[in-house]
């Protein structure tokens, strides 16, 4: 696999994991996951 493709994979994983960690850390005021 070329460097550009590997770089894309790494960046995308960081973006998605970072986003979901942020969203779930904010969960509370508008109801918990099981509410």
């Amino acid at each position: 696999m070329n460097g550009g493709a590997i770089g894309t994979i790494i960046v995308m994983w960081v973006v998605f994991i970072g986003a979901f960690v942020f969203f779930f850390s904010k969960m509370g005021k508008g109801g918990k996951w099981e509410d």
Binding site: G4, A5, G7, M12, F16, F23, M27, K29, G30, D35
Partner: protein
């Protein structure tokens, strides 16, 4: 404002799963990966993310938020803004109804292929690779020579279509409490299948070659208008906005529940699924290229051609476990499609119908399922594929974008956006700032109309859409016009409140 007895999600996570399920559909598998390959790989992903933040997320927040505010489906929302604006909510209802009528036919094809995969009906090895196209067009569809030759309904597809609509009725008729619980499974099952397909795909020779095409960035592409058109259109089509249903899904949310964070989770989950599906798709494309020693432009890498021709070609070349991969792939398509379909039928059509006419959920569900099945028979005929393509262009492209642009503009300027923002910020985990107002007022409508003009009018007006005969291509505009007029007709009908 809350309506006594309105459907409710049984929990926050069932709402989020239902919204994710509605957003994740066939396009995540057969459109997004191809767009990434064609428009610059990693560079396309940058444009796609920008489109997600400035268009997709605000549009989805708007539809959820307005539905929750008025506790109504799309027509009820716009009637609440102004009596003469109700048609703005009806137009996407007709868009949703026409989309679900052919979407269920594609799911019927998927069921047919899942069964056919057990015996590898299109052949194995090189015979299968050369026979996959004929199997789809001649055996499964029994395709005629043009839209003017409808021929007869193809019986196995009619049976599959009936099965799909019966399943739809069973899922929907008890309301959001049940659809949310079903959606948890119809989202998780295809995710698991995609993991299996990805692992199998990556173990095949040539897979890395395919992934290089999918992901390698070509930064120069970002300077081209095509890439931004592709990114904005992908975002508009992938989140199931502009189809009336998200207003109703928002109306099933409790008054004190979050809107914004749920919209972010829905949007990002949908996009993560698209990104992940690209690995399963392009690993197989790389395998096909290597197995048949052909360049990528000889492999159909998007749309129906990918799902029902290229992927079966790849499956037929897999040395071990080909039938299992085939069954899993087509069941994956079925599960990806079913929650989008019951979203379109339930949120997009059934909820607006019972809001307006005061029908019971069970009765309105039965009515819409029967009408959807009957209309779907058109696409089961030998000329059905042509009509599917023509009607898809009218509603899934023009209808969705134009109605979405009008809805966003009206909510942004007339409701207006600040009032909506204050409403959702009262209860949401994440507060949105004034930027949100300008997205609704300007960016979302302008982006949707840019896609309509750049990818639609500029191509379809000088030429006949799809190269069809003039009279057939005219049905793109006729369908748009008829649904537009019908939206005013339905606005003129008296509501259950007016009658009482």
């Amino acid at each position: 404002m809350a309506e006594v007895g309105r459907e409710r999600w049984s929990s926050r996570h069932t709402f989020i799963f239902a919204a994710i399920g509605s957003a994740i559909g066939l396009g995540n598998v057969w459109r997004f990966p191809y767009m990434s390959y064609k428009y610059g790989g990693g560079a396309f992903l940058v444009a796609w993310f920008i489109g997600l933040i400035i268009v997709g997320v605000p549009w989805l927040i708007m539809e959820f938020g307005m539905g929750r505010y008025f506790q109504k489906g799309a027509p009820g929302v716009f009637a609440g803004i102004g009596k003469k604006l109700e048609w703005i909510g009806w137009w996407p209802v007709f868009v949703a109804f026409l989309i679900v009528s052919y979407y269920c036919v594609i799911m019927a094809w998927s069921l047919r292929y899942a069964v056919s995969s057990v015996v590898m009906a299109w052949g194995v090895g090189e015979a299968g690779a050369s026979g996959a196209g004929d199997f789809f067009f001649k055996t499964v569809l029994q395709l005629s020579s043009g839209p003017g030759k409808l021929g007869h309904p193809v019986v196995p597809i009619v049976i599959g279509l009936a099965v799909v609509w019966i399943v739809m009725y069973i899922i929907i008729y008890k309301g959001a409490g049940q659809t949310g619980k079903v959606a948890v499974w119809t989202v998780i099952i295809p995710w698991l299948i995609l993991v299996v397909l990805l692992i199998r795909g990556l173990t095949l020779p040539g897979a890395v070659k395919g992934l290089n095409y999918y992901l390698t960035p070509n930064w120069a592409k970002l300077k081209q208008g095509d890439v931004w058109f592709a990114a904005l259109s992908q975002i508009a089509f992938t989140l199931s906005v502009g189809m009336a249903g998200m207003f109703a899904y928002g109306s099933f949310v409790a008054k004190k529940a979050d809107i914004t964070n749920s919209a972010f989770i829905t949007s990002f989950s949908n996009c993560a699924t698209s990104y992940f599906a690209g690995f399963a798709v392009f690993s197989i494309i790389g395998f096909i290229m290597q197995s048949l020693n052909i360049p990528i432009d000889k492999v159909s890498a998007s749309g129906l051609g990918l799902a029902f021709v290229s992927y079966p070609v790849g499956i037929s070349m897999i040395p071990t476990g080909a039938p299992i991969v085939g069954v899993l792939f087509f069941l994956c398509l079925f599960f990806l499609g079913i929650d989008s379909a019951f979203f379109l039928a339930h949120g997009g059509v059934i909820a607006p119908v019972y809001d307006k006419f005061g029908m019971k959920l069970k009765n309105s569900t039965l009515l819409i399922c029967i009408l959807g099945f009957l209309l779907g028979l058109l696409y089961t005929t030998q000329g059905g594929l042509y009509w599917l393509d023509i009607i898809d262009r009218a509603v899934s492209f023009y209808g969705l974008l134009i109605t979405g642009a009008i809805a966003s503009f009206v909510v942004g300027w007339v409701f207006p956006a600040k009032k909506l923002r204050d409403h959702i910020n009262e209860t949401s985990d994440i507060k949105v700032g004034a930027w949100f107002d300008w997205m609704l007022k300007v960016v979302v409508p302008a982006s949707a109309l840019f896609v309509v003009a750049y990818g639609g009018f500029a191509k379809d007006l000088p030429l006949k859409y799809g190269g069809y005969p003039k009279w057939a291509a005219a049905f793109v505009w006729i369908t748009l016009g008829v649904t537009f007029i019908l939206s005013f007709v339905f606005q003129s009908f008296k509501t259950k409140e007016a009658k009482s």
